[in-house]
Amino acid sequence: MEKTNVPLLEMKNVSKSFFGNQVLQDINFKLEAGQVLGLVGENGAGKSTLMKILFGMNVIKETGGYGGDILINGKKVVFETPFDALEAGIGMVHQEFSLIPGFTATENILLNREPQKKSVLSEVFGERLNTLDRKDMDERADGSIDKLGVHIDKELVVNHMPVGHKQFTEIARELSKDNMNILILDEPTAVLTEKEADALLESIRGMAKRGIAVIFITHRLQEILSVCDKVLVMRDGVIVKDTPAADTNVQEITRWMVGRSISGNPSKAAVATAEKERGKVIMSISRLWVDMPGETVRDVSLEVYEGEILGIGGLAGQGKLGIPNGIMGLYEAGGKVVFDGREIALNNPRKCLDSQLAFVSEDRRGVGLLLDESLEWNVSFPAMQIQNKFLKPYLGGLVKWRDEKAIEEVTNKYIKALQIKCTSSKQPAKELSGGNQQKICLAKAFALEPRFLFVSEPTRGIDVGAKSLVLDALKQFNRESGVTVVMISSELEELRSTCDRIAIVSGGKISGILPAVSASEDFGNLMVSNVR
């Protein structure tokens, strides 16, 4: 036989449609062993669907299957369930964690694959009465953590791990599968700090050296360039570019992804906003503590000026996400918060909303949206509840009817402004892609027309094109209505291009506040001081 280099994975003319809506078309690419493939695309471009097909997830079969062929080592394979894919050597780390909360990292890494020893009863009752070989388990966990290249405490119970560790535990679990030769990582660095993300990239390089092919899905283009061999850019269900990473750069990739050029020079925008005059102090936070697992706030004191856009940044797990969650009453908090001269009661979301504070949470699925309801509902509901907007009063206010027309109008207004990809304003929210769901959350907050807006990770999971859209929308909102915006984000550049000042949270406390125009290194220094 000839010495052909059969690719490890090959997709030929793969296509998929959901209820008549063509979501994927003509997907063709090859992946060799030890190659790292970066998969980029806007939200809704079809990346997740493609991975679901590769991983044999049920939803694909339930909605009519897919067209085209998948070949592993030159042989055609059909995966009916994720277990088929696992057996063929494909591992996948999803964005949502699949861990048993009360088990240690070791137990999770080896879940349902534990090494066992035969026992007396197992002769009669079968294998399930074998005892677990704890020593071997520890060894294998250690081995898998070594392969990962990042140190995690294997004795720690998942419940009490910081978010980054949970991510690494998931990856370690995939690595501990001996036959795994293709690993799909779906947005693995979303919850990691910059340092942890670097560690992960190093780990991916290690895996590639060992012959594992990695498919790396992310919006952080720098990461793609730094670790991938090949870059696959998808847009609207097709592959628009298949190029070696060495031959391209961030600007080019972005252009292919969105089909339009991205403007925005951080320093120019920052200079412009730095000229703005400072208003009075509109919110003063003193000695705030928040019990948010993974983002504990210990002692934060901060002043926010009216009309400014204040950024809050810092490494993951240091507490920046805890600040808005605590003030808005989603997690137990203590301390003192004074807004516009009046003290706000903590642990009471309603009071905050009544005082015209609004919050766009980073947890859009859990807190942000009513997934089964339509977009209209989602956008208008809080405004209706809190401010009695979009209601037509009858009988002198006794009976309040929903003003359907007004609701539809306002929803469409935001759909246009934020360029939300949907079939109509009546589509259920759960059918939207992640990034578009995020935009709905923003629309919801805007509809409240608040005086003060917390926005937490506004562009998480959103592609490059939409990112600047969202940030511009925020800036516009701030400029036109004078809303004070506090933006929490793990992407420093994003903060620097949007905010006036940036506070850095480290170790649950504020380690410093600098004007946005300050150098990145200065912020970096603040981030790493007092890290817990």
Binding site: P82, F83, S98, L99, I100, P101, G102, F103, E107, L111, N112, E114, Q116, S119, S122, E127, R128, L129, N130, T131, L132, R134, D153, E155, L156, V157, H160, M161, P162, R287, W289, V290, D291, P293, T296, V297, R298, D299, E332, A333, G334, G335, R532
Partner: protein, 384 residues
């Protein structure tokens, strides 16, 4: 100082002795409350310490096996297995047949246990399958299944026995010619396990062999947790979806946990009845589920967590209260009927209270971390 399990670094603080006591009291409210009730009722009841000791030893040996059978379903996330009564009924059927065949003593017990096994397995599989259809509502499902299977039990024992199932001795058959009498005497095997090795200390009889059997079950449970099946159950108990995604057969694992519990309940009921010496055919199993679960809760267990320690602490405290409460009530009110009523009232009230208190404790625990933060802030301020 880093807490290994939580990764949380607690600020170093001097905890005053008073604080320590309060903390302990908060964590163990229900058992402490029971100790208080007993402390009040024991002197009122007028029983001697020796008498109480003898009674408690008897009850521990009689009930522990049954209560231990509840531990495995809790581990698998099935909650409190009200369906243990099904196992009790299987054990009773075994005993009825064994009595009829005039098999006495320990061999009779063993034979009854063997007969109960296939019945328990069948009922356990049925119960487990139905509970799987009602995920999240296993406890109430088990509770209602009791009534259903009780009906079938009565159908068999009250109608089929003597007709379809041959019964040799008409002495245990009702006058009308079929169906088993209200009580079946188990004199022939009465306390056969207890007396096998019994020692007397200070007038208190200790049934050593029974305790050995109980100890063996405890060892089995401890060992079971270390097996693959035990680990699978723990995983299923915490997050069914994650376990399913990992390839564990969630439904089957849950059913197995109920089957094991039912078989053990069958054995436990036989041990219980051999101590009593008398089988109340139609009512023996009716309250057994309720009281075993109450005892377990009193020992500090909750719907999702129970240990062997909970079992023994619970059986001691609960039964102590059960013994002294009526006499204490009589001493207070002067009427014996009041005493009986009082006992039932306290039993049910205690179960309700245990469930409420654990709910409250759970909520308090979740805000514990919050209080620690506030404390940490305060300390820093003081140390500045």
């Amino acid at each position: 100082m880093k807490n290994r399990k939580t990764g949380y670094e607690a600020p170093l603080e001097k905890i005053s002795p008073a604080r320590k006591v309060l903390g302990f009291a908060r964590d163990n409210t229900v058992p402490l409350m029971f100790i208080l009730i007993c402390a009040i009722c024991i002197p009122l009841s007028g029983f001697s310490v020796n008498y109480l000791l003898a009674e408690i030893v008897t009850r521990i040996s009689r009930n522990s096996f049954l209560i231990l059978s509840l531990l495995i379903p809790i581990m698998a996330g099935m909650g409190l297995n009200f369906g243990m009564t099904l196992g009790a009924m299987a054990g009773e059927i075994g005993l009825i047949l064994v009595s009829d065949w005039q098999i006495w003593g320990i061999p009779g017990m063993v034979l009854a246990m063997i007969i109960s096994i296939p019945i328990s397995i069948g009922l356990g599989v049925l119960c487990g399958k139905i509970m799987n259809m009602a995920k999240g509502r296993e406890m109430i499902t088990g509770y209602i299944m009791n009534y259903f299977i009780n009906g079938i039990y009565q159908l068999i024992v009250l109608y089929a026995m003597g007709v379809v199932i041959p019964i040799i001795h008409s002495s245990i058959i009702l006058p009308r010619g079929y169906g088993i009498r209200n009580t079946v005497s188990l004199l022939a095997m009465r306390q056969s396990l207890d007396n096998l090795i019994a020692i007397r200390i200070n007038g208190v009889k200790i049934p050593v062999m029974t305790f050995v059997v109980i100890a063996l079950l405890c060892l089995f449970i401890v060992w079971f947790r270390k097996t693959k099946l035990g680990q699978d159950m723990r995983a299923v108990g915490q997050d069914m979806e994650v376990a399913r995604a990992a390839g564990i057969n969630v439904e089957r694992t849950r059913i197995i946990s109920i089957v094991i519990s039912t078989v053990l309940a069958g054995f436990g009921m036989i041990i219980y009845l051999q101590n009593m010496g008398n089988l109340s055919t139609y009512t023996a199993h009716s309250q057994i589920g309720m009281f075993c679960i109450a005892a377990l809760l009193v020992g500090g267990a909750s719907v999702d967590r129970a240990t062997i320690g909970n079992v023994f602490l619970g059986v001691t405290l609960f039964h102590l209260m059960f013994i002294v409460a009526p006499s204490a009530g009589t001493a207070l009110m002067g009427d014996s009927m009041i005493g009986e009523y009082f006992r039932v009232f306290v039993s049910y009230a205690v179960i309700t209270l245990a469930l409420i208190m654990y709910e409250t404790k759970k909520r308090k625990a979740s805000s514990k971390a919050a209080r620690e933060l506030a404390l940490a802030q305060k300390l820093e301020e003081e140390n500045k």
